[in-house]
């Protein structure tokens, strides 16, 4: 059955309408979880508020498990679902640059839009920065296209690289997430802050 647009069950235009509706759900959940506040987001790096870690990993394991079940029921063909390709060098260096952006700016792109939607001026300035950063990358592309294309590994799954089935890899990710939730709950008790 799914993915609906790939199997031509819905048209391209319906897909865009649903993108808008899914985006509303995305923005609503981000904002109501507190992701519109940079001080809540940055809390995870100092232990006083670990909402980022909890929401992020709960979402990842929910989606991972949900899609494995949908595939098991024959409702979603996982072979037609996009798996992000792995370019080892740019994945690591890009991640490092993004991590620096996160601790300095206090947002990531999705959360900055949630912040801007409720009037956070710092989030709007962050979005302005995003545009500048994208333009710098695109205009200077010849300078880093070697880096960008280096160490291409295809689109491997974690399960394949560990030589495990999808289900066992998912179970390991879930166990790792539960371990992190324990650390997160402990950190919030250890480094509490009243007002921020």
């Amino acid at each position: 059955m799914g993915p609906l647009v790939v199997n031509e069950i819905i048209s391209e235009n319906t897909n865009l309408l649903l993108a808008f509706i899914i985006g509303i759900g995305f923005g609503f959940v981000l904002e109501s979880s507190g992701f519109s506040s940079s001080r809540k987001l940055a809390g995870v790096f100092y232990g006083y508020d670990t909402v980022v870690l909890k929401v992020f990993f709960t979402a990842a394991i929910t989606a991972m498990l949900g899609m494995l079940f949908l595939s098991l029921f024959g409702w979603l063909n996982l072979d037609l679902v996009y798996v992000n390709p792995t370019y080892l060098t740019s994945a690591i260096i890009g991640g490092i640059v993004m991590g620096a952006g996160f601790i300095i700016g206090g947002f990531c792109p999705g959360t900055s839009f949630a912040g801007a939607s409720i009037g956070k001026i710092d989030a709007m300035v962050f979005i302005g920065g995003l545009f500048i950063g994208v333009i710098i990358f695109s205009e200077g592309y010849p300078l880093w296209d070697g880096l960008y294309m280096a160490a291409f590994k295809g689109s491997p799954k974690l399960s394949e690289s560990l030589g495990l089935s999808d289900g066992i890899a998912a179970l390991l990710v879930i166990l790792a997430a539960i371990g992190m939730f324990y650390v997160a709950e402990w950190a919030e008790k250890k480094f509490p802050r009243e007002e921020y």
Binding site: G27, K54, A60, M98, G99, G105, C108, F126, K157
Partner: protein, 176 residues
């Protein structure tokens, strides 16, 4: 009354419930479109679309722009652009429900608004650059990638959070 209002604006969803709901949104995206959520891709689409108006010849000459246009001849008619417009609407709805709609610069009392805005702009530039190099941001590469067990998704996630943790000490005065 004023106090009650203030308290309500500080109420948030239980994070585990929020995570399950976000996971369901991510499943919906994959079920409908065969792809996950994203954010930085929409910024790129807008940049490319603006360039096509202002400097069409330049778009043809720049390999990065040309590749984007090859995949999306009309960069604004793009899944992520529609999704991110939705994010603005959804965030606004949630903010109005909880009484959080307010124009303000949020910052630690130890730093000025001006410093916070400079840091926000700098962080945005780094994140914008890094998201293009890493082929997606926290949403598109890390979260959506992990959900489909993409090895690259796990690597990018570890690099983003690992770096932010490693640098947290040096930027602590901005936050605590």
């Amino acid at each position: 009354m004023e106090k009650e209002k203030k308290d309500r604006s500080r109420q948030y969803l239980n994070p585990y419930l929020g995570g399950v709901l976000l996971g369901l949104v991510l499943i919906a995206a994959n079920f409908v479109a065969g792809r996950g959520l994203g954010a930085s891709g929409a910024v790129k689409s807008v940049v490319v679309a603006a360039n096509m108006v202002v400097a069409p010849a330049h778009v043809k000459n720049n390999a990065f722009y040309a590749e984007t246009v090859k995949q999306h001849p009309n960069p604004l008619k793009n899944w992520l652009v529609f999704e991110m417009v939705g994010v603005l609407v959804g965030g606004f709805l949630s903010g109005s429900l909880w009484g959080r709609l307010k124009l303000k610069v949020e910052h630690s009392p130890k730093i000025t608004s001006r410093k916070r805005l400079i840091m926000a702009g700098t962080g945005g530039i780094l994140f914008g650059f890094g998201s293009q190099l890493g082929r997606g941001c926290t949403s598109g590469s890390a979260l959506s990638g992990m959900a489909v067990l993409s090895l690259g998704g796990f690597i990018t996630m570890a690099a983003i959070f690992g770096t932010a943790f490693a640098l947290a000490y040096f930027f602590r005065k901005n936050w605590i």
